[in-house]
Point group: C2
């Protein structure tokens, strides 16, 4: 699946992933009012509105982008109907040829990690039938529990030809509280980065490992160090745009081959129509605003090469 | 909710939580074969079998125990029908007066952490209607992202009078890989423990905070240190039984008031009928075997006081 991701990035010339993280107040009223009219003020109405909203954005952008990253929390908060919208979104994106990165940040140990992996990037067997509960191509994984928390995910990746991105240095202001703590002079995120490189070494696609890393755009100096520590690791970079990361900060995350990183933008794309810059589109044409925002982001990132 | 947990513990005289972590191969064939017969080899058949299996165990043990801890990964792997079984299980347990600790180990930042908190221990608003997707009393939270990852969970706890248990030192063999790394001579788990105590200080129930901690039974020396660092923190202790922790290892986790810790057992209780010790019950009477295993666990733990 890392090969497919890279192929998609080369094809679109856009190391960009659109974060499908819908909040109800992002959804234009012509969609949400209608689903509430049809289904009442219910979780089902919310789920259906999220799905329709996503579909609009996917239809307007899929030819420009290699991948999407739905944040499952935004669906999970609407319970079962929310997760049905998550599944529909992931399935539709895959039909459109996009790589789906489930931002689930799951973590546990042993058979429990394996269950999460089976849930999202693998399968279960009922009787003699193999079935999948959710259907992502990659998922994000939290490393705090150590190797025996992460390895069951890697085992499923190997079997199913999928991938993971392990949190190394996150984009938020207080990520340093634990991640930057110095261990014999070296920050913890470097130790985690070394482990990610080690875990990824025997999980290689054609040129990069399918064990990737998450490193926030908001810490470019650390990005540079981590790039060197993990030369064959694809880096998923959140924090561009709304969180404050700019294009010039992104350069250190890429390798000399122009590959090695994929940059996420969520609000900046899916809620573009609410920005002054794209206000002329109007709420009715929110999806066209998202398309323009993708084009602008692609150009912005291209400017660093 | 921490007050209710303590009240339940005092009433049952059992600082015990039953981990409802069903694997399909734990489920006696008289249940699973029947649901497959009715629904085919589907996720729905798996979900229904899990629910029936859980209901049997709950009916047989609810009067002896204060709380249950369903591990959501075991349900999530069966997709939407699995999560429907999770919801039914949590709802049924709460009807029976049990405190439900959702072992979800969620983590993210800002509005995404808030969405997870709303999903499991809070609510969302659709139109003017407040709704809940999942319905736990406590959930477990991974701290790797730092304060701004954890605080949105605490905010929801305050509003909804629920609680969390933050991973501090997990029970697995490689938990030390990152958690034990020494930061100026002090292991990271102590730094996390200090933060948990700090976060919990203004979140007090009558005698303990509703910001709790997870500390594995397999590291009693560390449990002792963490007990001292977090005197008002309830400690959820996994790793007893199947993972190798024994009753004598548990003493340091408790305070002098006999409170302050609650010990989880999953496989040892829910799959008791497969142990030689309880084999006389037979698969048909798996729930009675679970009841006997709870009684034995309660006695085992009582022996340390």
């Amino acid at each position: 699946m890392i090969n497919k991701l890279i192929e998609n990035i080369k094809k679109t010339q856009a190391p960009v992933v659109v974060g499908l993280d819908p909040m109800l107040d992002y959804i234009p009223s012509h969609i949400l009012d209608q689903t509430i009219k049809e289904r009442g003020e219910t979780l089902e109405a919310a789920g259906e509105a999220i799905w329709q909203y996503n579909k609009g954005i996917i239809d307007a952008t899929y030819d420009l982008i290699p991948a999407v990253k739905p944040q499952i929390a935004m669906y999970e908060q609407f319970g079962i109907p929310g997760l049905e919208a998550f599944n529909k979104t992931a399935d539709y994106c895959r039909q459109k040829g996009l790589v789906v990165i489930g931002d689930v940040k799951r973590s546990d140990i042993g058979s429990t990690s394996a269950a999460y992996a089976n849930a999202h990037i693998g399968s279960v067997t009922v009787g003699n039938t193999k079935l999948s509960g959710f259907h992502e191509d990659f998922i994000t994984v939290n490393p705090y529990l150590g190797s025996d928390g992460v390895k069951p995910f890697i085992d499923v990746c190997k079997e199913e030809k999928r991938g993971i991105f392990v949190l190394v240095k996150t984009s938020n202001p207080s990520s340093g509280e634990f991640q930057d703590q110095k261990v014999e002079g070296k920050p913890l995120y470097e130790i985690v980065g070394e482990k990610v490189a080690e875990w990824g070494a025997d999980c290689m696609g054609d040129s990069y490992s399918y064990v990737g890393a998450v490193v926030g755009a908001t810490y470019p100096e650390m990005g540079k160090v981590l790039r060197a520590i993990m030369p064959n690791t694809y880096i998923l970079v959140p924090g561009y745009g709304a969180q404050g990361g700019s294009a010039k900060d992104l350069k250190p995350y890429f390798n000399k081959d122009g590959l090695g990183a994929i940059v996420n933008s969520s609000r900046g794309i899916i809620c573009a129509y609410k920005q002054e810059k794209y206000a002329q589109f109007g709420a009715e044409n929110y999806a066209d605003a998202s398309r323009q925002a993708v084009i602008d982001m692609r150009e912005d990132i291209a400017s660093i090469f």
